[in-house]
Protein backbone atom coordinates (compact mmCIF):
# COMPACT_ATOMS: atom_id res chain seq x y z
CA UNK A 1 0.00 0.00 0.00
CA UNK A 2 2.73 2.38 0.98
CA UNK A 3 4.59 1.78 -2.24
CA UNK A 4 1.43 2.37 -4.29
CA UNK A 5 0.76 5.64 -2.53
CA UNK A 6 4.21 6.94 -3.29
CA UNK A 7 3.92 5.76 -6.87
CA UNK A 8 0.71 7.75 -7.30
CA UNK A 9 2.27 10.86 -5.78
CA UNK A 10 5.43 10.63 -7.85
CA UNK A 11 4.16 12.30 -11.07
CA UNK A 12 2.82 15.31 -9.18
CA UNK A 13 6.02 15.54 -7.17
CA UNK A 14 8.08 15.39 -10.34
CA UNK A 15 6.02 18.11 -12.01
CA UNK A 16 6.32 20.34 -8.96
CA UNK A 17 10.07 19.77 -8.76
CA UNK A 18 10.64 20.43 -12.44
CA UNK A 19 8.25 23.32 -12.96
CA UNK A 20 8.24 25.01 -9.59
CA UNK A 21 11.30 24.26 -7.50
CA UNK A 22 13.80 24.38 -10.38
CA UNK A 23 12.69 27.79 -11.77
CA UNK A 24 12.72 29.14 -8.22
CA UNK A 25 16.29 27.94 -7.84
CA UNK A 26 17.24 29.58 -11.14
CA UNK A 27 15.51 32.80 -10.07
CA UNK A 28 17.37 32.75 -6.76
CA UNK A 29 20.69 32.26 -8.54
CA UNK A 30 19.97 35.03 -11.08
CA UNK A 31 19.04 37.45 -8.31
CA UNK A 32 22.57 37.13 -6.96
CA UNK A 33 24.34 37.83 -10.29
CA UNK A 34 25.30 40.86 -12.36
CA UNK A 35 23.20 42.04 -15.32
CA UNK A 36 24.46 41.10 -18.74
CA UNK A 37 24.97 43.79 -21.35
CA UNK A 38 22.11 42.58 -23.58
CA UNK A 39 19.92 40.97 -20.93
CA UNK A 40 20.70 37.69 -19.28
CA UNK A 41 23.09 37.43 -16.39
CA UNK A 42 26.82 37.41 -15.86
CA UNK A 43 29.32 36.97 -13.08
CA UNK A 44 30.46 38.15 -10.58
CA UNK A 45 27.94 37.31 -7.87
CA UNK A 46 26.61 40.36 -6.05
CA UNK A 47 23.83 41.49 -3.70
CA UNK A 48 23.20 44.58 -5.81
CA UNK A 49 19.78 43.39 -7.03
CA UNK A 50 18.52 42.88 -3.48
CA UNK A 51 20.04 46.16 -2.30
CA UNK A 52 18.24 48.21 -4.96
CA UNK A 53 14.89 47.06 -3.68
CA UNK A 54 15.23 49.32 -0.64
CA UNK A 55 15.38 52.32 -2.98
CA UNK A 56 12.55 54.77 -2.16
CA UNK A 57 11.37 54.62 -5.76
CA UNK A 58 10.68 50.88 -5.56
CA UNK A 59 9.29 50.99 -2.04
CA UNK A 60 6.76 53.52 -3.38
CA UNK A 61 5.78 51.06 -6.14
CA UNK A 62 5.37 48.32 -3.53
CA UNK A 63 3.14 50.53 -1.38
CA UNK A 64 1.11 51.56 -4.42
CA UNK A 65 0.69 47.88 -5.32
CA UNK A 66 -0.57 47.13 -1.81
CA UNK A 67 -3.03 50.02 -1.97
CA UNK A 68 -4.37 49.00 -5.40
CA UNK A 69 -4.61 45.33 -4.38
CA UNK A 70 -6.28 46.36 -1.10
CA UNK A 71 -8.87 48.57 -2.82
CA UNK A 72 -9.58 45.90 -5.44
CA UNK A 73 -9.97 43.21 -2.76
CA UNK A 74 -12.29 45.40 -0.70
CA UNK A 75 -14.44 46.13 -3.75
CA UNK A 76 -14.50 42.45 -4.70
CA UNK A 77 -15.68 41.52 -1.20
CA UNK A 78 -18.29 44.29 -1.10
CA UNK A 79 -19.67 43.26 -4.48
CA UNK A 80 -19.11 39.54 -4.05
CA UNK A 81 -20.82 39.03 -0.69
CA UNK A 82 -24.32 40.10 -1.75
CA UNK A 83 -23.91 38.14 -4.95
CA UNK A 84 -22.79 34.99 -3.12
CA UNK A 85 -25.67 35.40 -0.63
CA UNK A 86 -28.13 35.81 -3.48
CA UNK A 87 -26.85 32.68 -5.22
CA UNK A 88 -26.80 30.63 -2.01
CA UNK A 89 -30.48 31.52 -1.43
CA UNK A 90 -31.55 31.06 -5.05
CA UNK A 91 -32.86 27.52 -4.51
CA UNK A 92 -33.19 25.57 -7.73
CA UNK A 93 -31.51 28.31 -9.77
CA UNK A 94 -28.26 28.09 -7.81
CA UNK A 95 -26.37 26.07 -10.37
CA UNK A 96 -27.41 28.31 -13.22
CA UNK A 97 -26.12 31.41 -11.43
CA UNK A 98 -22.90 29.66 -10.44
CA UNK A 99 -22.35 28.70 -14.06
CA UNK A 100 -22.90 32.34 -15.05
CA UNK A 101 -20.30 33.46 -12.51
CA UNK A 102 -17.80 31.05 -14.01
CA UNK A 103 -18.74 31.72 -17.62
CA UNK A 104 -15.99 34.36 -18.19
CA UNK A 105 -13.36 31.66 -17.52
CA UNK A 106 -14.29 30.16 -20.85
CA UNK A 107 -12.54 33.04 -22.59
CA UNK A 108 -8.93 34.05 -22.16
CA UNK A 109 -8.31 36.75 -19.58
CA UNK A 110 -6.24 38.64 -22.19
CA UNK A 111 -9.16 38.79 -24.64
CA UNK A 112 -11.52 39.92 -21.90
CA UNK A 113 -9.10 42.66 -20.89
CA UNK A 114 -8.92 43.81 -24.51
CA UNK A 115 -12.71 43.88 -24.54
CA UNK A 116 -12.58 46.34 -21.64
CA UNK A 117 -10.23 48.52 -23.67
CA UNK A 118 -12.76 48.60 -26.49
CA UNK A 119 -15.44 49.63 -24.04
CA UNK A 120 -13.44 52.29 -22.22
CA UNK A 121 -11.28 53.99 -24.85
CA UNK A 122 -12.12 57.48 -26.17
CA UNK A 123 -13.89 56.06 -29.23
CA UNK A 124 -15.21 53.09 -27.22
CA UNK A 125 -18.78 52.04 -26.64
CA UNK A 126 -19.31 53.93 -23.38
CA UNK A 127 -18.02 57.25 -24.67
CA UNK A 128 -19.77 56.83 -28.03
CA UNK A 129 -23.11 56.22 -26.36
CA UNK A 130 -22.70 59.10 -23.89
CA UNK A 131 -21.63 61.46 -26.67
CA UNK A 132 -24.48 60.26 -28.89
CA UNK A 133 -26.99 60.94 -26.13
CA UNK A 134 -25.51 64.39 -25.69
CA UNK A 135 -24.74 63.75 -22.05
CA UNK A 136 -21.10 64.69 -22.57
CA UNK A 137 -19.37 66.83 -25.19
CA UNK A 138 -15.94 65.30 -25.15
CA UNK A 139 -14.89 61.72 -24.35
CA UNK A 140 -14.43 60.87 -20.68
CA UNK A 141 -10.91 59.69 -19.83
CA UNK A 142 -11.97 56.18 -18.89
CA UNK A 143 -8.92 54.22 -19.97
CA UNK A 144 -5.24 54.36 -19.01
CA UNK A 145 -5.66 55.42 -15.42
CA UNK A 146 -5.89 53.88 -11.93
CA UNK A 147 -9.65 53.64 -12.11
CA UNK A 148 -9.43 51.46 -15.21
CA UNK A 149 -6.80 49.25 -13.54
CA UNK A 150 -8.93 48.72 -10.44
CA UNK A 151 -12.02 48.13 -12.56
CA UNK A 152 -10.13 45.48 -14.53
CA UNK A 153 -8.82 43.78 -11.40
CA UNK A 154 -12.22 43.75 -9.70
CA UNK A 155 -13.81 42.40 -12.86
CA UNK A 156 -11.18 39.69 -13.25
CA UNK A 157 -11.06 38.47 -9.66
CA UNK A 158 -14.67 38.83 -8.53
CA UNK A 159 -15.45 35.13 -9.17
CA UNK A 160 -12.60 34.16 -6.84
CA UNK A 161 -14.42 35.86 -3.95
CA UNK A 162 -17.87 34.70 -4.91
CA UNK A 163 -17.06 31.01 -5.03
CA UNK A 164 -15.54 30.52 -1.53
CA UNK A 165 -18.16 32.84 -0.03
CA UNK A 166 -20.90 30.88 -1.73
CA UNK A 167 -19.45 27.63 -0.36
CA UNK A 168 -19.41 29.10 3.18
CA UNK A 169 -22.94 30.45 2.96
CA UNK A 170 -24.33 27.32 1.37
CA UNK A 171 -23.04 25.19 4.24
CA UNK A 172 -24.67 27.34 6.89
CA UNK A 173 -27.49 25.72 8.83
CA UNK A 174 -30.63 27.77 8.01
CA UNK A 175 -31.79 27.10 11.58
CA UNK A 176 -29.09 29.50 12.82
CA UNK A 177 -30.61 32.50 11.07
CA UNK A 178 -34.07 31.39 12.09
CA UNK A 179 -32.92 31.16 15.69
CA UNK A 180 -31.51 34.67 15.54
CA UNK A 181 -34.83 35.98 14.23
CA UNK A 182 -36.62 33.92 16.82
CA UNK A 183 -34.62 35.59 19.58
CA UNK A 184 -35.64 38.99 18.26
CA UNK A 185 -32.90 39.95 15.80
CA UNK A 186 -34.00 41.86 12.71
CA UNK A 187 -32.64 40.71 9.34
CA UNK A 188 -29.83 43.30 9.34
CA UNK A 189 -28.75 42.30 12.84
CA UNK A 190 -28.88 38.64 11.90
CA UNK A 191 -26.68 39.41 8.91
CA UNK A 192 -24.01 41.12 11.01
CA UNK A 193 -24.19 38.93 14.11
CA UNK A 194 -24.65 35.52 12.51
CA UNK A 195 -24.35 35.25 8.73
CA UNK A 196 -21.20 37.31 8.18
CA UNK A 197 -19.22 36.03 11.20
CA UNK A 198 -20.04 32.47 10.18
CA UNK A 199 -18.68 32.90 6.68
CA UNK A 200 -15.43 34.46 7.94
CA UNK A 201 -13.34 31.52 6.65
CA UNK A 202 -14.83 31.92 3.16
CA UNK A 203 -14.32 35.66 3.39
CA UNK A 204 -10.65 35.22 4.31
CA UNK A 205 -10.05 32.63 1.61
CA UNK A 206 -11.75 34.78 -1.03
CA UNK A 207 -9.88 37.92 0.02
CA UNK A 208 -6.56 36.08 -0.18
CA UNK A 209 -7.41 34.63 -3.58
CA UNK A 210 -7.94 38.17 -4.84
CA UNK A 211 -5.32 40.10 -2.92
CA UNK A 212 -2.32 37.97 -3.82
CA UNK A 213 -2.80 37.89 -7.61
CA UNK A 214 -3.73 41.60 -7.58
CA UNK A 215 -0.45 42.39 -5.82
CA UNK A 216 1.54 40.82 -8.63
CA UNK A 217 -0.89 41.58 -11.47
CA UNK A 218 0.82 42.41 -14.71
CA UNK A 219 -1.64 42.15 -17.57
CA UNK A 220 -4.37 44.45 -16.22
CA UNK A 221 -2.15 47.37 -15.15
CA UNK A 222 -0.18 47.07 -18.38
CA UNK A 223 -3.18 47.08 -20.75
CA UNK A 224 -5.75 49.15 -18.87
CA UNK A 225 -3.19 51.38 -17.19
CA UNK A 226 -1.36 51.95 -20.45
CA UNK A 227 2.13 51.87 -18.94
CA UNK A 228 1.33 54.95 -16.85
CA UNK A 229 0.58 52.82 -13.82
CA UNK A 230 3.64 51.05 -12.49
CA UNK A 231 2.85 48.27 -10.06
CA UNK A 232 5.03 45.41 -8.84
CA UNK A 233 3.97 43.16 -11.70
CA UNK A 234 4.71 45.70 -14.38
CA UNK A 235 7.95 46.71 -12.66
CA UNK A 236 9.21 43.13 -12.65
CA UNK A 237 8.17 42.59 -16.25
CA UNK A 238 10.04 45.75 -17.24
CA UNK A 239 13.25 44.44 -15.71
CA UNK A 240 13.15 41.39 -17.91
CA UNK A 241 12.16 43.29 -21.08
CA UNK A 242 13.04 46.91 -21.67
CA UNK A 243 15.35 47.44 -18.67
CA UNK A 244 17.23 44.19 -19.29
CA UNK A 245 18.12 43.83 -15.65
CA UNK A 246 17.39 40.19 -14.95
CA UNK A 247 19.09 40.05 -11.53
CA UNK A 248 16.99 42.95 -10.23
CA UNK A 249 13.83 41.44 -11.75
CA UNK A 250 14.60 38.11 -10.09
CA UNK A 251 15.27 39.76 -6.75
CA UNK A 252 12.00 41.72 -6.99
CA UNK A 253 10.04 38.54 -7.78
CA UNK A 254 11.50 36.64 -4.87
CA UNK A 255 11.22 39.61 -2.54
CA UNK A 256 7.51 40.05 -3.29
CA UNK A 257 6.93 36.34 -2.89
CA UNK A 258 8.75 36.28 0.44
CA UNK A 259 6.74 39.26 1.67
CA UNK A 260 3.39 37.66 0.74
CA UNK A 261 4.40 34.35 2.29
CA UNK A 262 5.44 36.10 5.50
CA UNK A 263 2.13 37.98 5.64
CA UNK A 264 0.11 34.81 5.08
CA UNK A 265 2.11 32.99 7.70
CA UNK A 266 1.60 35.73 10.25
CA UNK A 267 -2.10 35.84 9.55
CA UNK A 268 -2.45 32.08 9.86
CA UNK A 269 -0.51 32.12 13.12
CA UNK A 270 -2.76 34.78 14.54
CA UNK A 271 -5.70 32.51 13.74
CA UNK A 272 -4.01 29.81 15.78
CA UNK A 273 -3.53 27.32 12.96
CA UNK A 274 -0.67 24.88 13.43
CA UNK A 275 2.17 25.69 11.11
CA UNK A 276 5.82 24.72 10.79
Amino acid sequence: MRGLRELCLAPAAAVLAALFAAPMGILAAYSLMTRGAYGGVATPFTLEGWRRMADALYVAVLIKSFVVAGISTALCVLLGFPLALFIARAGARKNLYLALVMLPFWTSFLIRTYAWMFLLRDTGLVNTVLLGLGLIHEPLPLLYNWGAVILGLVYGYLPFVVLPLYASLERQDPALEETAADLGARPVETLFRVTIPLCAPGLRAGAMLVFIPCLGAYLTPDLLGGGKTILMGTLIQNQFSSARDWPFGSALSLGLMALVTALLWMQARRKGETLP
Partner: protein, 319 residues
Protein backbone atom coordinates in the same frame (compact mmCIF):
# COMPACT_ATOMS: atom_id res chain seq x y z
CA UNK B 1 -56.41 29.00 33.08
CA UNK B 2 -56.35 31.47 30.22
CA UNK B 3 -55.49 30.68 26.67
CA UNK B 4 -52.02 31.75 25.56
CA UNK B 5 -51.82 30.33 22.10
CA UNK B 6 -54.75 29.82 19.81
CA UNK B 7 -54.70 28.28 16.36
CA UNK B 8 -57.76 29.10 14.31
CA UNK B 9 -58.46 27.18 11.14
CA UNK B 10 -54.72 27.02 10.50
CA UNK B 11 -53.88 25.57 7.07
CA UNK B 12 -50.71 25.37 5.05
CA UNK B 13 -50.30 24.17 1.53
CA UNK B 14 -46.96 23.76 -0.23
CA UNK B 15 -47.75 23.82 -3.93
CA UNK B 16 -50.17 20.90 -4.30
CA UNK B 17 -49.36 19.28 -0.99
CA UNK B 18 -51.52 19.98 2.03
CA UNK B 19 -49.22 20.07 5.05
CA UNK B 20 -51.79 21.28 7.53
CA UNK B 21 -55.54 21.31 7.16
CA UNK B 22 -57.83 23.45 9.31
CA UNK B 23 -56.15 23.01 12.69
CA UNK B 24 -57.97 24.48 15.67
CA UNK B 25 -56.33 24.38 19.08
CA UNK B 26 -56.29 26.38 22.29
CA UNK B 27 -53.21 26.03 24.45
CA UNK B 28 -53.44 27.24 28.03
CA UNK B 29 -51.20 29.36 30.21
CA UNK B 30 -48.41 27.32 31.76
CA UNK B 31 -49.39 24.16 29.96
CA UNK B 32 -46.99 21.54 28.67
CA UNK B 33 -48.68 20.72 25.41
CA UNK B 34 -47.47 18.10 22.94
CA UNK B 35 -48.01 17.94 19.22
CA UNK B 36 -47.71 14.26 18.46
CA UNK B 37 -47.76 12.46 15.16
CA UNK B 38 -45.81 10.51 12.58
CA UNK B 39 -43.44 12.29 10.23
CA UNK B 40 -45.30 14.36 7.68
CA UNK B 41 -48.31 14.81 9.95
CA UNK B 42 -47.93 18.59 10.06
CA UNK B 43 -46.46 19.04 13.54
CA UNK B 44 -43.28 20.74 12.34
CA UNK B 45 -45.29 22.88 9.94
CA UNK B 46 -47.42 23.96 12.90
CA UNK B 47 -44.31 24.93 14.85
CA UNK B 48 -42.97 26.93 11.90
CA UNK B 49 -46.30 28.71 11.48
CA UNK B 50 -46.38 29.64 15.16
CA UNK B 51 -42.76 30.85 15.13
CA UNK B 52 -43.42 32.80 11.93
CA UNK B 53 -40.96 31.01 9.66
CA UNK B 54 -43.86 30.19 7.36
CA UNK B 55 -47.06 32.07 6.60
CA UNK B 56 -50.31 30.11 6.77
CA UNK B 57 -52.33 29.57 3.60
CA UNK B 58 -55.47 30.10 5.67
CA UNK B 59 -56.35 30.68 9.29
CA UNK B 60 -54.37 32.47 11.94
CA UNK B 61 -52.22 32.12 15.02
CA UNK B 62 -53.23 34.20 18.04
CA UNK B 63 -50.90 34.87 20.92
CA UNK B 64 -52.47 36.27 24.09
CA UNK B 65 -55.54 37.18 22.08
CA UNK B 66 -53.66 39.06 19.38
CA UNK B 67 -53.39 37.88 15.83
CA UNK B 68 -49.84 37.22 14.66
CA UNK B 69 -50.83 37.50 11.00
CA UNK B 70 -48.12 39.32 9.07
CA UNK B 71 -45.79 39.45 12.06
CA UNK B 72 -42.28 38.31 11.34
CA UNK B 73 -40.37 35.92 13.62
CA UNK B 74 -38.50 38.71 15.45
CA UNK B 75 -41.79 40.42 16.25
CA UNK B 76 -43.34 37.37 17.91
CA UNK B 77 -42.82 36.63 21.55
CA UNK B 78 -42.32 32.93 21.02
CA UNK B 79 -39.03 31.12 21.06
CA UNK B 80 -37.90 27.88 19.50
CA UNK B 81 -35.47 25.20 20.61
CA UNK B 82 -34.52 23.48 17.39
CA UNK B 83 -33.90 19.78 17.04
CA UNK B 84 -30.27 20.54 16.12
CA UNK B 85 -30.19 23.12 18.97
CA UNK B 86 -28.80 25.63 16.42
CA UNK B 87 -26.23 27.10 18.80
CA UNK B 88 -24.18 29.86 17.21
CA UNK B 89 -20.85 28.09 16.67
CA UNK B 90 -18.80 31.31 16.64
CA UNK B 91 -20.06 32.41 20.06
CA UNK B 92 -19.34 31.09 23.53
CA UNK B 93 -22.02 29.56 25.72
CA UNK B 94 -22.39 32.85 27.55
CA UNK B 95 -22.65 34.86 24.33
CA UNK B 96 -25.20 32.40 22.99
CA UNK B 97 -27.34 32.77 26.09
CA UNK B 98 -27.10 36.56 25.97
CA UNK B 99 -27.89 36.75 22.24
CA UNK B 100 -31.52 37.80 22.53
CA UNK B 101 -31.04 40.09 25.50
CA UNK B 102 -30.52 43.30 23.54
CA UNK B 103 -33.84 42.87 21.72
CA UNK B 104 -35.77 42.41 24.92
CA UNK B 105 -36.78 45.66 26.51
CA UNK B 106 -37.54 45.96 30.19
CA UNK B 107 -36.71 43.72 33.10
CA UNK B 108 -33.32 42.91 34.44
CA UNK B 109 -31.59 41.00 31.66
CA UNK B 110 -28.39 40.33 33.59
CA UNK B 111 -30.33 38.76 36.41
CA UNK B 112 -32.32 36.57 34.02
CA UNK B 113 -29.12 35.34 32.40
CA UNK B 114 -27.75 34.50 35.83
CA UNK B 115 -30.93 32.69 36.81
CA UNK B 116 -31.05 30.67 33.60
CA UNK B 117 -27.37 29.77 33.83
CA UNK B 118 -27.91 28.54 37.38
CA UNK B 119 -31.17 26.77 36.68
CA UNK B 120 -29.64 24.84 33.78
CA UNK B 121 -26.36 24.25 35.61
CA UNK B 122 -24.19 25.93 33.01
CA UNK B 123 -22.07 27.93 35.43
CA UNK B 124 -18.78 26.24 34.58
CA UNK B 125 -19.48 26.02 30.83
CA UNK B 126 -19.95 29.71 30.06
CA UNK B 127 -16.60 30.25 28.36
CA UNK B 128 -16.85 27.15 26.16
CA UNK B 129 -17.66 27.00 22.48
CA UNK B 130 -20.63 24.86 21.39
CA UNK B 131 -18.33 22.31 19.73
CA UNK B 132 -16.86 21.53 23.16
CA UNK B 133 -20.22 20.56 24.64
CA UNK B 134 -22.03 17.24 24.90
CA UNK B 135 -25.51 16.83 23.38
CA UNK B 136 -27.22 17.33 26.71
CA UNK B 137 -25.20 20.46 27.46
CA UNK B 138 -26.00 21.91 24.04
CA UNK B 139 -29.65 21.41 24.73
CA UNK B 140 -29.41 23.17 28.07
CA UNK B 141 -27.66 26.13 26.39
CA UNK B 142 -30.40 26.29 23.76
CA UNK B 143 -33.04 26.21 26.51
CA UNK B 144 -31.30 28.92 28.52
CA UNK B 145 -30.92 31.09 25.41
CA UNK B 146 -34.65 30.81 24.71
CA UNK B 147 -35.78 31.30 28.30
CA UNK B 148 -33.71 34.47 28.74
CA UNK B 149 -35.99 36.32 26.32
CA UNK B 150 -39.03 35.28 28.39
CA UNK B 151 -41.24 34.03 25.58
CA UNK B 152 -44.98 33.61 26.02
CA UNK B 153 -44.58 30.19 24.45
CA UNK B 154 -41.49 28.02 24.12
CA UNK B 155 -41.54 25.66 21.15
CA UNK B 156 -39.40 22.54 21.38
CA UNK B 157 -38.83 20.60 18.18
CA UNK B 158 -38.11 16.93 18.96
CA UNK B 159 -36.00 17.96 21.97
CA UNK B 160 -35.01 14.43 22.91
CA UNK B 161 -34.39 12.76 19.59
CA UNK B 162 -30.81 13.98 19.24
CA UNK B 163 -29.88 12.70 22.69
CA UNK B 164 -28.37 9.43 23.72
CA UNK B 165 -31.25 6.97 24.41
CA UNK B 166 -30.01 6.36 27.95
CA UNK B 167 -30.30 10.04 28.71
CA UNK B 168 -33.77 10.56 27.35
CA UNK B 169 -35.92 9.61 30.29
CA UNK B 170 -33.78 11.67 32.63
CA UNK B 171 -33.87 14.76 30.36
CA UNK B 172 -37.61 14.24 29.91
CA UNK B 173 -38.11 14.51 33.65
CA UNK B 174 -35.80 17.53 33.82
CA UNK B 175 -37.72 19.31 31.06
CA UNK B 176 -40.94 18.65 32.90
CA UNK B 177 -39.61 20.09 36.16
CA UNK B 178 -38.01 23.04 34.34
CA UNK B 179 -41.35 23.86 32.78
CA UNK B 180 -43.02 23.74 36.20
CA UNK B 181 -40.38 26.08 37.63
CA UNK B 182 -40.48 28.73 34.93
CA UNK B 183 -44.22 28.44 34.36
CA UNK B 184 -43.88 29.20 30.66
CA UNK B 185 -46.11 27.38 28.18
CA UNK B 186 -44.12 24.66 26.42
CA UNK B 187 -45.20 23.24 23.08
CA UNK B 188 -43.42 20.00 22.61
CA UNK B 189 -43.14 18.50 19.11
CA UNK B 190 -42.57 14.77 19.05
CA UNK B 191 -43.20 11.60 17.10
CA UNK B 192 -42.63 9.43 20.15
CA UNK B 193 -45.85 8.51 21.91
CA UNK B 194 -44.09 7.44 25.09
CA UNK B 195 -42.39 10.81 25.30
CA UNK B 196 -45.66 12.64 24.76
CA UNK B 197 -47.56 10.47 27.25
CA UNK B 198 -44.97 10.92 29.96
CA UNK B 199 -44.44 14.69 29.91
CA UNK B 200 -47.61 16.32 28.64
CA UNK B 201 -50.54 17.95 30.32
CA UNK B 202 -52.38 17.54 27.04
CA UNK B 203 -51.57 16.04 23.68
CA UNK B 204 -52.81 16.89 20.20
CA UNK B 205 -52.45 13.96 17.87
CA UNK B 206 -51.99 14.91 14.23
CA UNK B 207 -52.23 12.72 11.19
CA UNK B 208 -51.80 13.77 7.56
CA UNK B 209 -52.19 17.42 8.41
CA UNK B 210 -55.39 16.97 10.38
CA UNK B 211 -56.12 16.96 14.09
CA UNK B 212 -56.98 13.43 15.07
CA UNK B 213 -57.66 13.94 18.76
CA UNK B 214 -56.77 16.26 21.58
CA UNK B 215 -56.84 15.43 25.26
CA UNK B 216 -54.92 14.32 28.31
CA UNK B 217 -52.43 11.45 27.95
CA UNK B 218 -54.92 9.28 29.80
CA UNK B 219 -57.74 10.22 27.42
CA UNK B 220 -55.70 9.45 24.37
CA UNK B 221 -54.40 6.15 25.59
CA UNK B 222 -57.53 4.81 27.19
CA UNK B 223 -60.20 6.46 25.06
CA UNK B 224 -58.74 6.96 21.61
CA UNK B 225 -61.14 8.57 19.18
CA UNK B 226 -60.01 6.61 16.16
CA UNK B 227 -58.27 3.46 15.12
CA UNK B 228 -55.28 5.56 14.15
CA UNK B 229 -55.13 7.22 17.58
CA UNK B 230 -55.42 3.89 19.37
CA UNK B 231 -52.66 2.36 17.27
CA UNK B 232 -50.34 5.35 17.39
CA UNK B 233 -50.32 5.53 21.18
CA UNK B 234 -49.50 1.87 21.61
CA UNK B 235 -50.10 -1.58 20.16
CA UNK B 236 -53.70 -2.79 20.06
CA UNK B 237 -55.31 -6.14 19.32
CA UNK B 238 -58.40 -5.57 17.22
CA UNK B 239 -60.78 -8.40 17.91
CA UNK B 240 -64.07 -8.12 16.02
CA UNK B 241 -63.95 -4.34 16.11
CA UNK B 242 -63.03 -4.12 19.76
CA UNK B 243 -59.57 -3.04 20.81
CA UNK B 244 -57.57 -4.51 23.67
CA UNK B 245 -54.06 -3.46 24.63
CA UNK B 246 -51.56 -6.35 24.88
CA UNK B 247 -50.78 -5.55 28.50
CA UNK B 248 -54.48 -5.93 29.32
CA UNK B 249 -54.72 -9.27 27.55
CA UNK B 250 -54.31 -12.41 29.63
CA UNK B 251 -53.42 -15.92 28.61
CA UNK B 252 -55.32 -18.68 30.40
CA UNK B 253 -54.28 -22.27 30.03
CA UNK B 254 -57.58 -23.63 31.35
CA UNK B 255 -60.76 -22.90 29.46
CA UNK B 256 -63.94 -21.56 30.96
CA UNK B 257 -62.72 -18.99 33.51
CA UNK B 258 -65.43 -16.58 34.59
CA UNK B 259 -66.00 -12.81 34.61
CA UNK B 260 -64.16 -11.91 31.48
CA UNK B 261 -64.31 -11.79 27.71
CA UNK B 262 -62.45 -14.73 26.29
CA UNK B 263 -61.60 -16.47 23.09
CA UNK B 264 -59.84 -19.69 22.16
CA UNK B 265 -56.40 -19.30 20.58
CA UNK B 266 -53.17 -21.11 19.81
CA UNK B 267 -49.83 -19.89 21.11
CA UNK B 268 -47.48 -19.21 18.18
CA UNK B 269 -44.46 -17.86 19.97
CA UNK B 270 -43.33 -16.27 23.18
CA UNK B 271 -40.42 -13.89 23.59
CA UNK B 272 -38.80 -12.87 26.85
CA UNK B 273 -38.45 -9.06 26.92
CA UNK B 274 -37.07 -8.67 30.42
CA UNK B 275 -39.94 -6.76 31.99
CA UNK B 276 -42.55 -9.02 30.42
CA UNK B 277 -43.20 -11.95 28.16
CA UNK B 278 -44.43 -11.12 24.66
CA UNK B 279 -46.81 -13.87 23.56
CA UNK B 280 -48.20 -14.14 20.05
CA UNK B 281 -51.35 -16.16 19.57
CA UNK B 282 -53.84 -16.77 16.79
CA UNK B 283 -57.56 -17.25 17.30
CA UNK B 284 -59.60 -19.83 15.46
CA UNK B 285 -60.78 -17.19 13.00
CA UNK B 286 -57.14 -16.53 12.15
CA UNK B 287 -56.88 -13.29 14.12
CA UNK B 288 -53.49 -12.47 15.61
CA UNK B 289 -53.67 -11.52 19.31
CA UNK B 290 -50.66 -10.36 21.26
CA UNK B 291 -50.44 -10.50 25.03
CA UNK B 292 -47.83 -9.10 27.33
CA UNK B 293 -47.85 -11.07 30.53
CA UNK B 294 -45.64 -11.24 33.58
CA UNK B 295 -45.15 -15.00 33.37
CA UNK B 296 -46.47 -17.95 31.50
CA UNK B 297 -45.96 -21.21 33.33
CA UNK B 298 -46.23 -24.44 31.46
CA UNK B 299 -47.47 -22.98 28.22
CA UNK B 300 -45.62 -23.90 25.03
CA UNK B 301 -45.80 -22.97 21.42
CA UNK B 302 -48.62 -24.71 19.62
CA UNK B 303 -50.60 -25.11 22.83
CA UNK B 304 -54.28 -24.25 22.84
CA UNK B 305 -55.16 -21.56 25.39
CA UNK B 306 -57.73 -18.84 25.89
CA UNK B 307 -57.01 -15.14 25.54
CA UNK B 308 -59.04 -13.10 28.02
CA UNK B 309 -59.58 -9.48 28.98
CA UNK B 310 -61.79 -7.43 31.22
CA UNK B 311 -64.72 -5.58 29.68
CA UNK B 312 -63.61 -2.27 31.21
CA UNK B 313 -60.26 -2.53 29.40
CA UNK B 314 -61.88 -2.62 25.97
CA UNK B 315 -61.27 0.27 23.63
CA UNK B 316 -64.53 1.23 21.98
CA UNK B 317 -64.28 3.67 19.14
CA UNK B 318 -67.01 6.25 18.78
CA UNK B 319 -69.37 5.34 15.96
Amino acid sequence: MGTVLELRGLSKRFQEQVALDDLNLCIGEGELFSLLGPSGCGKTTTLRLVAGFEEPTAGEVRLRGESLAGKRPFERNVSTVFQSYALFPHLTVRENIEFGLRYKRGGDGRRRVKECVEMLELGDKQGRKPEQLSGGEKQRVALARSLVVQPDVLLLDEPLSALDPNLRSQVRAELRSLQRRVGITFVFITHDQEEALSVSDRIALLNRGRLEQVGSPRDLYLRPASRFAAGFLGPVNWIDGIGVRPEKTRIEAAAGGAGARRMAATVESSTFLGNCLHVETRTESGQRVVAEVARLDGVQSGQRVEVAWAAEDEIRLPE
